[in-house]
Point group: C2
Chain length 273, copies 2
């Protein structure tokens, strides 16, 4: 059950919706759209194929309602069924893909990412926050990490990677603390920090330094460096980052080599984003 469910109608079959928190009036609310999107998002690595009962359990819909959504989505070509289970089709990619086709930010960033790769010889990423996840929205690459690195649209819990830490450091302190105290932290390596206080110290350090260095949180032997991407109102709207194998270079050496290129690009972007 996600954040949105607090606002939307509790059941798709309900005819009368209360006015919602965000100020959307009842007559403007399209019943059915929220639950349908929630169902598409419910398919993931651990839930590749689901029956209507499984979808019902994951979304809080009744089994009958879940089945209607699944059949509608199958009819629209977003799902296909085998026996009683449903799975996503490549058609769903069209929905997400339109972001890269249509959003100005990834295209504005591209030449700056190319410049960073030119200066450093490294693959570089741009990301934004979506809730408490960071999402990679642009990148430019060198060979080394390209085949194993993050691809566009990949999504990572914000506290596990340098761009996430640097973006979290721009949010109101109490909001971040409250979230850290309640979110479930999955360790990805023996070094992954799961203690809220330690994580908050990392975030506070990034705020003070103006950049983040994060080591082995998501992958052993990998160090990430990120700087905030600010707009002309000094609002942090994203991050520029790169990931490097730690064995190749000492931390200070990497910072001296990488940080100026990242900061220069971020400065040049201030009046463009």
């Amino acid at each position: 059950m996600n954040e949105r469910d607090k606002n939307g109608p509790a059941d798709d079959s309900r005819e009368v919706c209360e006015p919602t928190e965000g100020g959307l009036s009842r007559r403007d609310w399209i019943a059915g759209l929220e639950k349908g999107l929630l169902i598409l998002e419910a398919f993931d690595f651990d839930n590749q194929r689901m029956t209507s009962a499984q979808v019902a359990a994951r979304t809080g819909l009744s089994r009958t309602a879940a089945r209607r959504y699944l059949l509608t989505l199958e009819h629209l070509g977003y799902l296909h069924s085998e026996g009683k289970t449903f799975a996503l089709t490549p058609r769903v990619l069209k929905v997400g893909w339109s972001y890269f086709d249509s959003a100005p930010l990834p295209r504005i960033l591209q030449p700056f990412l190319q410049q960073i790769t030119g200066q450093t010889g490294e693959a570089v990423y741009a990301s934004v926050l979506d809730g408490w996840d960071l999402v990679f929205i642009a990148r430019n690459g060198a060979t080394r990490v390209m085949t194993t690195g993050f691809v566009l649209g990949a999504r990572v819990p914000a506290q596990l990677a340098s761009p996430g830490i640097v973006m979290l450091s721009a949010l109101p302190e109490q909001q971040v603390r409250d979230w850290l105290a309640t979110c479930a932290m999955t360790p990805f390596t023996p070094h992954t920090i799961t203690d809220p206080d330690q994580l908050y110290a990392l975030i506070a350090q990034a705020r003070q330094l103006g950049y983040a260095v994060v080591e082995q949180q998501l992958q052993t032997g990998v160090r990430g460096i990120a700087v905030p991407l600010k707009n002309r109102h000094a609002k942090v709207i994203g991050a520029l980052s790169l990931s490097l194998p730690m064995a190749a270079e000492a931390r200070e050496q990497t910072l001296a080599r990488i940080l100026p290129a990242l900061q220069q690009a971020a400065n040049a972007l201030i009046n463009l984003v």
Copy 2:
């Protein structure tokens, strides 16, 4: 207006839907879901920011209905508004992205793509058909095309690239001929074939050869080679392909170097997909 609209209800405000062609019964149809997804797909390179009037014009909805959908999608976090215009947020990526997280095909393909890159030193792609578009669902890469090549989820008119030609060659002849006769062909290079008969000849040749070679249809100086990806029922479910600069090598030389690696991987995959 796309294919789906022939099946679904003509207007979201309509309370009674006719039974649909595909056999989905009226009581299983979720009104609102189709139009909402259609609106998300309506944002593209030429329509990055749209007013409710523009969305209405592109989707066939009334302006009032379009506005309700836009406000609902904004409330759900899929759109943000500036003044009277709406644009996609990175949240839409979550919908498409779940395909890569959840669909078994891309993951099954990955080690075989790695093998092809190992044997040829080239970036290699796997794609499937979605309607008359081909969609890249997996890839493994070498430097050269990685920074400029197709990214996961990219979508190309099927007749313009080798994997598309090889997948079209597996469809019923009349169906492909009918489509070629009616679809609008945009030339991307001076060499792009827009004549239906010439395109059909290319498709027929691919059917006969068991692979496709396509030159300069989408990009000048680039040659694509593709083989069909078949399942154990001999049904073509996708294609393996790579793109190479034509200047570097003669066509026969490229085929001799590349084709065995592609065919070997496709053969090994027959019992796995």
